[in-house]
Every structure is written in C-alpha cells, then in structure tokens.
C-alpha cells in the first residue's frame, strides 16, 4: 500500500487540528465569524483527502488489505510495549473516515447558519474541530492505546460540546453525566488494555525467545497493536488460559473492552447519559451523539472482532446487550415528546441494532459484521439528517416539544421533505438506505439461527417505524399547536443544503455494497422472505402511527391511559436515572463524606493528638525551666563537677 496519500494519511486528522490553531489565533472578538469558515474549510480538505484515499484504496488489487501506512513512536512503556501513533488503513477504518469527514463537513456547514450570532461561535468551532480531530484519530488507530487516547479525547470534546451553553444548569449536569458515565465505562476499557497488555506481552516475549506461540515475533512486535492482538495464535493462547470466575482469559479481556464500548455507545445500562446529552446544540447532537462518536463502541467491537469471535461467550454478551438495548430504547422512544429525546432513544435503539448484528456474526459467518458496518454507515446519514432537520425545526419553533409543533409541512418544505426521507429510511422502507442495511442484519440473524434475536429485530423494526412516524406526524402534519409554530419559516440555504445532501445520501446510500467492501470475498445472499417480513413490519408500524396520531382522534391518549402504570414506567425511562441518582448519593454519603470526615478527625486527629502529647510532656518539663539563672547555675556547676569526678574515676 504505497502512495502519497497512504503514507501521509495523518494529514486527514491534522486538518482539524490546524483549524483549531488558526481559529485560536485569527478568529477572536469581532473576527469570530472567520471561525466557521476556517473550520469548514479544513474539514472540507480532510473530506477531499479521504475521498482521494478511498479512491486510491479501491484501485488496489488486493481488496480488503490492511496496513499501518505511517507511524511514529509515541509512548515507550518497555520493549514490546511501545505505543506508536499511526494510521491503520483497512476497509472499516476507511468506511468510518468517509462517514466522519462527510457528516462532519455537513454539520460544520449547517452550523454556520444554526450557530450564527452565538457569542461562543469560535469556541463552538474549536470544540467541533477538536472532536473531528479526535474521531479521525480514533478511527485510524492501529493499536489499543491510540484507540484509548482518542477515545478519551472524543469523550472530552463531547463533554465540552454538551456543556456548550455553560450557563444552563441542565447542560452542565448533562455534560458531567456524559463524561462520568463514559469515564466509568472507560475504566473497564483501561482494565481490558492492562489485561491484554500483560498477557499478550508475555506471549510476545516468549515468542521472541522460543518461537512458540507467536510465530513471527520480532523486536518490532508490539503487544498492544491490533495486528498482534487479533492474530489467531495469540487469541488461541489467551483462550487457553483461565481468567476469573471460571471463564477464560480472552473472554474476560473482551468483556472488559466491551464495557468500554458499551459506555461510549450508550448500551443499557450505561445509556443514561445519551438522552441528557441532547442539551448541547443540535448540530452537535447530529454529529457526535448520533452519527459518529456513539458508534465508536461498535467500531471498537468490530476492530477487535476476531477476539470476540474467538471467545464465543463475549460475542453472546454483545448480542444480548445489543438486542436488549435496541428493544428497550425503542419502547421508551414511543412515549417521549421532546423531539431530540425521541431521536436520542432512536439512536440508542439503532446502535443496539448494530451491536446485535455484530453479536450474530461469527468467524465462519461474518455476514453480521458486514451488516453492522453497513448499518453504521447508513444510520450515520439518516440519523444526522433527522437531527439536523430537528434542529431546523427547533430553530424555527424555538421549542423542543412536539406538542408545540405541528403543521410545519407547508411552512418548511425543504426540511419537511428531507425529514420525511430520513424517516422513511430509518423505518426501513425500500429502496431507501435503511431498508438494505436493516435487511442485512435481519438476514444475518436468520442465517445464524438466532430466532429470538431475529424476533426482537423484527419487532423493533416495526416499533421504529411507529415512533418515527409518530414524531413525523406530530411535527409536520395536522394543525399548528402554538403561536411559534404559526410563525415558523424555512431555514436559510446554508442549513437546508446539508439537509438535501444528506437526504440524497439517505435515499441512495443503500445502493452501495458496503458489506462487499468490508468483507471482500465473502458470499452474501439476500433473503426474499426476510425482506418481506421487514417490509411488513415497517408497514405495520407506519400504519399504527397513522391510525393513532393521523386523524383528529385522541386514540393515543386513550391507549396511554389504558396502559396506566406501564405507560408511566416507560415514560419515565424505567426510572433508571433515578436509580443512578440514588446510587451516586449513596456513594457520596457513605464513602466520600466518611472519607473526608475520617481524614479530618481520625487521621488528622491522630497527628494533633501526638502533638498534644508532646505538648503535655513539654509542659511537664517546663517545671525545670524556672527562668532563674541561679538555678541553672547550680545545675550547671553540679553537672560539671559530676563530669569531672566521673572522668577522674574513669581515668583511675
């Protein structure tokens, strides 16, 4: 894999980094309008370079090749544990590069309109560029540590962007929550890195001397490179060692990594931060909390897929968590009225879909792997479109509540058209993008004989169609339910053009054979039966939505009332936030407060006690210090005499 763009792939993430510096230097005060231009231009260049890279890659004879095309030594822990920063080019990293740069470019452009006039305009673009830089670095990571490094960096840029409106208490709380929950998950990721680092390092060192396990271990073999970890011999050796709780070591390591992935991808039960993260600006939600960052977890699992596949238990956990989250979030989405929250739960559900797809794949039948990547790719476009469309609506109406919208179809034609496209795409209506990817996932589940998962998938497909059309109907159809909605008008072109581009992608994105690109040489076949089932499910969902919300009836309310407690439970997101809040309070009250008290009173008390004892003793000694020179003199002379007598006696 040679060529200028391969060997200089680092230029792609470098672009947003340069943008940050330029914005910091140039776009201050009155010039802050420049920030958007600089940021958009830089990411535009990055996008063009990605296209160049993609085209060069497609021209290669060896399809599906993977290579680290550029690297520099970064952090030298010890021999065989040298971390390099590098660029790993293979189909999935290329796919993610395309997704990230294109969506990011569109969001940058869209924000020119959406954020115009905000006093934190240049700050916004700095954060956005920081995020893009980190995400690109994450995607290109050739080793676990680089992955972790940029993993944390995307986390912090997400934190900064959620808390962008830093005077709003809910934004502050949401940003902290997002960071801490994902950080908690990252702890497990880090532990996974430690476990893998130690045991793979052991194998590499042994391989270097005895050439036993890792055949071709050289001094250049680094334990934490994906190339080393994903090697079959290493995985086999890890599977052979016992871990804790009666599982093998590989499963332990992979599960630890998966917890990290689940945190970033907001899988149940670590999903609580994502709905709150909608407190950030809407384009941010589109870019970070829908299209790119939250799929990092999926990407991580895909990156380490050989490990998950080798340890079948870990893969089963992935499938279970994925399908549960997918169902759970879809159910909640049906009851929410905040437009961004509905989309957030829909994101959760779709990421669950991707995890589910990975879970049903295996080394022999990797179809699910391709399907997952395919869905990641299509989802990025239609979900970004949905969020940007929602942003356009919020911009016009000034509220997030669908109860204050309605009837926007005529007033915002471009937004309406593109939003509808995306809704159809996510609902899985042929021939839009979502249909193909969802169909492949269901097909993979079917092929893998995972009946339960297949059932869940179909049911969620139906639910997805239902809640998305519910949202669409409430927002765009019917009559206006508030004065703001009456006055709403279409957004400026700088906002609608990205919508149209994304609309086109949602429409046609599915026609590209991503699965073939990701899994070259694997024979994939379509299932007409599965296609039929999924289309039927979508139709049922859409029909139900129109039946309940289409007319002027209040069937929805009637049903909600008849469900009673169950509805309330779902509406309050199963009270999981409250449980977390309770647990946090418990930690504060029963660990932190006692620790602080203990320190002040016991540890410090002990120190003060020892000081007091010395003081008491000194006070006792003070009796001898009369301050009378005469007394001192008596003691002194007496002492001298005694010493003299003593010396004299000794001498004799």
């Amino acid at each position: 894999m040679t060529g200028f763009i391969f060997e200089n792939a680092w230029l792609i993430p470098a672009m947003p980094l340069i943008a940050i510096l330029l914005i910091a230097v140039l776009a201050r005060g009155e010039n802050r309008g420049l920030a958007g231009m600089i940021g958009s231009a830089a990411i535009g260049v990055a996008f063009l370079m990605t296209c160049w890279l993609g085209v060069s890659y497609l021209r290669l004879a060896d399809q599906g090749a993977a290579a680290v095309t550029w690297s520099i030594e970064w952090l030298r822990y010890q021999d065989h544990l040298v971390v390099s920063l590098g660029t790993l080019i293979d189909p999935i990293s290329l796919l993610l590069l395309v997704v990230v740069t294109s969506v990011s470019l569109l969001v940058h452009v869209y924000s020119l309109g959406y954020m115009a006039g905000d006093e934190g305009f240049s700050r916004y673009y700095v954060f956005l560029s920081l995020f893009t830089f980190s995400m690109l670095g994450l995607v290109l990571a050739p080793n676990l540590v680089q992955m972790y490094v940029f993993w944390e960096l995307v986390g912090v840029s997400s934190f900064l962007l959620i808390g962008f409106y830093y005077t709003l208490p809910e934004a502050i709380a949401a940003s902290k929550k997002a960071f801490i929950v994902t950080r908690f998950a990252d702890l497990f990721f880090l532990a996974g890195i430690l476990v893998l680092g130690f045991y793979v390092h052991q194998l590499v060192v042994a391989g270097g001397s005895a050439a036993s396990v890792v055949g071709a271990a050289t001094t250049q073999t680094q334990a934490l490179d994906f190339a080393t970890i994903n090697a079959d011999s290493v995985l086999l050796a890890l599977k052979g060692q016992t871990g804790i709780f009666g599982t093998d070591l590989l499963t332990v390591a992979m599960l630890l990594v998966f917890v990290g992935a689940a945190g970033k991808s907001a899988m149940f039960p670590l999903h609580v931060w994502l709905p709150d993260a909608m407190a950030g600006p809407t384009p941010v939600s589109a870019l970070i909390h829908a299209a790119t960052m939250v799929v990092a977890g999926v990407y991580l699992v895909a990156r380490m897929f050989p490990g998950f596949a080798a340890s079948e238990d870990a893969l089963r956990v992935v499938a279970a968590v994925g399908s549960f989250t997918c169902l759970f979030a879809a159910v909640i989405a049906c009851t929410q009225t905040d437009i961004k929250r509905v989309l957030a739960f829909s994101t959760l559900s779709q990421i669950g879909y991707m995890m589910l797809a990975l879970g049903v794949a295996s080394a022999e039948h990797p179809a699910g792997f391709g399907a997952s990547m395919f869905h990641l790719y299509t989802h990025a476009f239609f979900k970004a479109l949905l969020f940007l469309g929602a942003g356009s609506v919020i911009h016009a109406v000034g509220s997030n509540e669908v109860t204050e919208m309605g009837g926007l179809r005529k007033k915002m034609p471009w937004t309406h058209a593109t939003f509808l496209t995306a809704t159809l795409a996510i609902a899985g209506v042929p021939p839009l993008a979502g249909f193909f990817s969802k169909d492949e996932i269901l097909g993979a589940a079917w092929d893998g004989h995972h009946a339960l998962i297949f059932g869940v998938g179909v049911f969620v497909a139906s639910l997805t169609a239902f809640y998305m059309f519910r949202l669409y109907i409430l927002t765009f159809l019917g009559g206006c339910r508030s004065a703001e909605a009456e006055r709403a008008h279409e957004s400026p072109p700088v906002m609608t053009i990205p919508l149209v581009v994304l609309g086109v992608m949602s429409l046609c994105g599915g026609w590209i054979g991503v699965s073939h690109f990701v899994l070259p040489g694997v024979e994939l076949h379509a299932h007409l039966a599965v296609m039929g089932i999924s289309v039927a499910a979508a139709a049922v969902g859409i029909g139900a939505a129109f039946w309940m919300y289409g007319g002027q009836t209040n069937r929805a309310e009637t049903i909600a009332r008849s469900l009673g407690g169950v509805y309330r439970l779902v509406k309050h997101k199963f009270y999981i936030d409250e449980i977390y809040l309770f647990l946090t309070h418990m930690i504060f009250r029963f660990i932190a407060a006692p620790a602080a008290w203990f320190d002040r009173h016991v540890v410090d008390g002990a120190m003060n006690l020892s000081a007091a004892v010395v003081h008491r003793f000194a006070a006792g000694m003070n009796v001898f210090q009369t301050g009378q020179v005469q007394t001192y003199g008596i003691w002194m002379i007496n002492g001298t005499i005694l010493v003299m007598v003593f010396l004299w006696l000794v001498q004799r």
Binding site: Q630, I634, I637, N638, I641, M644, V645
Partner: protein, 195 residues
Amino acid sequence: MHDGAISTVFFYLFAASSIALALGVVLGRRLLRSAICLIGVLGSSAGLTLVLGFEFVAGIQVLVFIGGIVVMLLFAIMMTSQGHTFEQQPTLRRRVAGATVAAAFFTVTLSAYLNADFPVPTAEQLAVSHEGADEIGRKLLSNQGDGYIVPFEVISLLLLSALIGGIVIARKHAPEDEESDQDQGLANHPSDVGR
C-alpha cells in the same frame, strides 16, 4: 618581704581576715555592709599579694578593685536602694543547694591540687627577686613572641566598649521622653509616659 617568719604570720593573718570577711560578704543581709566587707577582702588579698612579693599587682588591686570597682558598686547600692537595704533571706533549699555546690567545688578543687604534681620550687628559685613593674610594662607592650601587646589593645577596646555600653544601657530610652523622664527621675519607665 621575704623573711620567712614574718611572711608566715602575715599569710595566716590575711588568710583569716579574708575568709572571715568573705563570709561576711555572702552571708550578710545588708548590702552596704557586704560591700564594706568586700573592701576588706580585697584589701587582705592585696596584702597577700604583697606577701608573695608582687608590689605592683598589689597596688593595682588596691587602686582598681577597691578604689574603682567597689566604689562603683557602692554607687549602685545607693542608687537602687530606697531605704529597705535588707535583702530577703534565700530559701532554705537554695541555701543548702548553694552550700552543697560550693562544698563540692571546694572538695574537687582541693583534691585536684593535692593530687597534682606541681614542680616544687627550690629555695633559690623562690629567692629570685621580682622587680615587677618594669618587666611587666615591657611585657605588656612587647610585640615579640611572648609579648602581650595584642591582648593589651583588646582589653583597652573592651574597656572602651564597656564604657560606651554602660552609657547606652543606662541611658533613658526614647529621646523624646527626656523631659518627662527628668521630672519623674529614676522611677520612670517608658510605658508610664503619657499616662
């Protein structure tokens, strides 16, 4: 005064008087009387020095010790006593302790003397005449190896600085207080000013 018998007599005479008067110095409760006793002790000491044959030193003792120092102490007593010249009796414990220390010191010193092996002077050594004053003067001002010019100058500096120091310590502190100080005399101290 090298005549053996006479010097023996004088030795015992002066020794007895100096011990008796010294006891008077430390035991008497009247300061003035103690000071008078001290004059006696110093006088006896000068006599003893004379017995040893050192006329010059004896003269200096009388001049400086008695004529200078003790007179100054008498001034001190006069300046600081306001009628009650009786000194309070020290506590018994203090007296016992002091006596013990003094006795112990005396015992140790004496036993050291008794055990020491001093070169016993021969008769002709003892008979060497001591034309002291000129020899002393030469030695004091000599800068040769065994001369005392440097200590001599140091002592003169010391005396000068003691003189200045004495003035500085005893003078009234704040210059601006001088007028009121003069009104109130010695009984004044700085914090009283302005009351």
